[in-house]
């Protein structure tokens, strides 16, 4: 998995690509979050458009990130979740936890 980060209106947008499957991915994602939180960023959008697939370990990375961000008083939301990945969120009931958007502008403005 690769992570590309940028900011828009104070919100960190993390664009993930490849396969989200735990192991080193977990450490890389957590380090990115921690560094941005250290900079003072509270709110995050994780763009999954270029993620080919997620396994249950990869879901754990997103859950861990969600908890970390919430503990720091912010929110973590998802952007452009594919049908394949959305289906996993539905069967695992995690769609009740993560807010998801198809449009970046709408996702960013949801924090204000």
């Amino acid at each position: 998995m690769k992570i590309k980060e940028r900011k828009r209106e104070g919100v960190a947008i993390l664009e993930l690509s490849g396969k989200l499957m735990g192991g080193p991915d977990s450490e890389a994602f957590n380090q990115t979050l921690q560094a941005l939180i250290h900079e003072g960023v509270k709110n995050f959008i994780v763009n999954l458009e270029r993620v080919k697939w997620v396994n249950s370990t990869g879901l754990g990375i997103l859950i861990s990130g969600y908890s970390t961000v919430r503990k720091n008083g912010g929110e973590l939301k998802l952007l452009k979740v594919s049908d394949r990945i959305e289906n996993i969120f539905i069967v695992s009931k995690l769609y009740t936890v993560f807010q998801s958007y198809d449009d970046e502008e709408e996702a960013v403005s949801s924090f204000s």
């Binding site: 192991g23 249950s56 069967v91």
Partner: protein, 137 residues
């Protein structure tokens, strides 16, 4: 159309995409919805993840064996590892929604038409996942 493909991958997560690639390639010639193949492939990735982590304890020299059995109206995928398996007769999904692990079996169960756990003649732990092309699961 009946055929069988066998694959062996090292117990390293980087190879989890290989069975996915095989299924996606097979799907190009099958008359079924992409969702059916996506759900089967997601389940096979879960079975292989478990086989690597729990069965083979991520030992690179231990391989995960995967058999793809293509039938007229279904695909059955068998995943074998060298571990002891688990108490699948009494397995219950963990209740905590925010748990970071423990969703693999739930995903496999929800996304396949048939999910079986047993041991092969050599004592290897075996997971068999079946998906019909007209599956509505």
């Amino acid at each position: 159309m009946k055929s069988q493909i066998e694959l062996r991958i090292p117990s390293q997560q980087v190879y989890l995409g290989v069975p996915d690639a095989v299924l996606m390639e097979l799907a190009t010639d099958l008359s079924c919805e992409q969702k059916v193949i996506d759900e089967l492939s997601t389940s096979v990735i879960e079975a292989c993840t478990n086989a690597m982590e729990h069965g083979n304890a991520m030992q690179e020299n231990l391989q995960v064996e995967i058999h793809f059995h293509l039938e007229e109206d279904s695909i059955q995928v068998t995943v074998l590892d060298n571990g002891k398996g688990f108490d699948f007769l009494h397995w219950q999904p963990p209740a905590d929604l925010m748990r970071e692990r423990g969703r693999g079996i739930l995903i496999m169960r929800e996304f396949t038409d048939s999910l079986e756990f047993d041991y092969d003649a050599n004592g290897r732990f075996r997971v068999r996942l079946t998906k019909h092309f007209n599956s509505k699961t």
